[in-house]
């Protein structure tokens, strides 16, 4: 193939980076946004009152009352307690009637708005918002992109090996192409450990989906039996004959018992299997905010509060805990706001590496290939994959805000808006000259970002109620809008870097 190791690596990095870069940018962008999935759902649900500091005991009582009144015959209940990130109480019931509701954690009033909220971005990040049980294409595309990211990271070190020699070199003013390359290197090198870790853990997390035939060979019950042993999950799925009616104690009784084992006030959510029957089982799950652990402590009790199953992380084997520790690096549920901001920004740096890399690809070849059909296509797809993905993401928020609460299939409309806008961005990029397309799409993203907080004037309400979570989202939109405006401005100026005074090179 290629003559030397470096040349083959360059080939791999360049072309693999180009093709998968288009996918990767979207995966990295939505993944970064999804870090704040809970906060965004809260922001997208104005019906949840601002400034709530819900009391866990009272919320649980409200959830329990609601389920007893509305789903007395269902065989599986779930109550998710409100958090400071998303202060709504969630109740879900399944089997013999199925439903899910968000409630005001203090009054118990139903929140009627149906929305995917921030978890939409989680879905796009995971499998391009496809149903991976029905059609795993989207899921495997993301997995391929993740592997390509690992490959690009390693081959990138080989290709850009000058980064070791020029470790402290950043030349924003020498030439546009060099500046983009340096930006690519700066973002890539600084966050390299983070990016490699995220790509690696992203693939590692779903090992049982990648090796689908391994578990059924060892476990007669297949994946679910394997997972039950591996991480004690999914017990709630085990369904037996429903027993005779028999009263269960108030949920607080079980929660207190569980919290005596894993810490007071640490309950995140609980399941009740067969409520109000002799065979009722209550499973209480601990939160994972201050532990770097993917698996959570979970206690299952029978109707009388006798512990029948428990998983306490500290009692598990070192290997189990190591797996749990590493897996949790990807799903950032620990560390609070500080770590989430870190992840958000470092994730955006990953998106920036990808975007800068895509631009370098065209900047390097513009002289030789300008006017050729394939180059035109690459340029157009670049614009749509980067700027178009940004527009589509912000358009999702606009569609969420503008779709009436009572619209039919309400939660689908913003999702469709996302895809339609992305497709429109591709068409626009194909019709316009590359530079204009960049400028217009970046400028549109900027406008959408700047406008989003002001839709329905909600930013003023957030300010008036000192609702800091929502204000932070508003402020991030504004900051993002300014960044996009700056980017549009810079790209608008013809070869902006060349017009700046030459750097005085020592």
């Amino acid at each position: 193939m290629r003559k030397t190791f470096t040349l083959s690596m360059t080939f791999l990095h360049t072309w693999g980076g180009l093709v998968f870069g288009w996918l990767l940018f979207m995966v990295l962008l939505t993944g970064s946004i999804a870090v704040f999935a809970g906060e965004l759902t809260y922001w997208l649900t104005p019906e949840i009152r601002g400034g709530l500091r819900p009391d866990a005991v009272r919320s649980m009582q409200i959830g329990e009352d609601y389920l007893r009144a509305h789903a007395p015959t269902s065989r599986l209940w779930r109550v998710t307690l409100p958090t400071s990130r998303e202060p709504a109480l969630k109740v879900t019931w399944k089997e013999l009637g199925e439903g899910s509701k968000k409630l005001d954690p203090e009054t118990g009033a139903e929140i009627v708005r149906k929305t995917e909220g921030g978890s939409f971005f989680l879905q796009v990040h995971e499998d391009f918002h496809s149903n991976r049980d029905k059609n795993p294409t989207g899921f495997f595309l993301v997995c391929l992109a993740g592997m390509a990211m690992l490959v690009a990271s390693v081959s990138g070190i080989v290709v850009h090996k000058r980064i070791f020699k020029d470790l402290f070199l950043f030349r924003p003013k020498t030439s546009p192409h060099r500046a983009w390359l340096d930006a690519h290197n700066v973002f890539g090198v600084l966050a390299l450990p983070f990016h490699m870790m995220m790509a690696f853990t992203g693939i590692l997390l779903l090992y049982w989906l990648f090796l689908p035939s391994a578990a059924p060979v060892v476990y007669p019950g297949g994946n679910s039996e394997f997972r039950r042993e591996a991480n004690a999950q999914d017990y709630r799925q085990v369904k037996g004959e429903a027993g005779d009616p028999a009263p269960t104690a108030p949920l607080k009784f079980y929660v207190d018992k569980a919290e005596s084992l894993f810490g007071a006030g640490r309950t995140a959510y609980l399941y009740v299997r067969d409520p109000g029957r002799t065979n009722a089982v209550v499973e209480v799950y601990r939160e994972r905010t201050e532990r770097v652990s993917q698996q959570v402590d979970q206690i299952a009790m029978d109707r009388n509060g006798t512990v029948i199953r428990s998983l306490l992380i500290k009692e598990k084997t070192p290997l189990f805990r190591l797996q749990s520790f590493v897996a949790s690096w990807h799903w950032i549920e620990w560390g609070g706001n500080l770590a989430r901001w870190f992840y958000f920004l470092a994730g955006l740096m990953g998106a920036a590496v990808t975007a800068a890399g895509l631009v370098v690809f065209t900047a390097k070849r513009r002289k030789g290939a300008e006017g050729q059909a394939w180059f035109r296509i690459v340029e157009a797809v670049n614009v749509a994959a980067v700027a178009g993905a940004c527009i589509a993401s912000v358009a999702f928020f606009w569609a969420e805000r503008l779709t009436p609460v009572e619209a039919a299939a309400r939660d689908d409309i913003p999702v469709q808006a996302f895809w339609v806008v992305w497709a429109a961005a591709l068409v626009h990029a194909a019709l316009r000259p590359a530079r204009q397309a960049w400028v217009e799409q970046l400028a549109l993203t900027a406008l959408l970002c700047l406008g989003a907080p002001f839709l329905q004037g909600l930013v003023f309400r957030d300010l008036a109620t000192a609702d800091w979570v929502r204000i932070a989202v508003d402020a991030t939109f504004i900051a993002g809008g300014l960044c996009f405006a700056l980017a549009a401005w810079k790209v608008r100026t013809p070869s902006f870097a060349a017009t700046l005074p030459a750097r005085r090179e020592a």
Partner: protein, 101 residues
Amino acid sequence: MGVALSCLLTFASLVLFALAMRRHHRQAFGRDPAPRAVLAYRLAATVLIVLAPAPWMLERGPYMGFVTWMFCGVPLVGLAAVALFTALAARRSEVETEVEA
């Protein structure tokens, strides 16, 4: 406090790594570094970079400290330093150009 100390240690370590390079040593001192000095710079830099996460980890606990340092702290502190020094250098060169003009 521990966070700041970790950042400073990292920065000091990277300065030493830079000084071990001919080009940067010349920029700083106007002459090439002696081979022995290169070794000394690198050794000191390595010791500092290994020690750097310790204050951070002491403050935030070993697990949380390790994870936040490795995957979040280093890249973002680095980016902030790059942005800051690039901006400072740009400003200084502008000022110098004005003075010369």
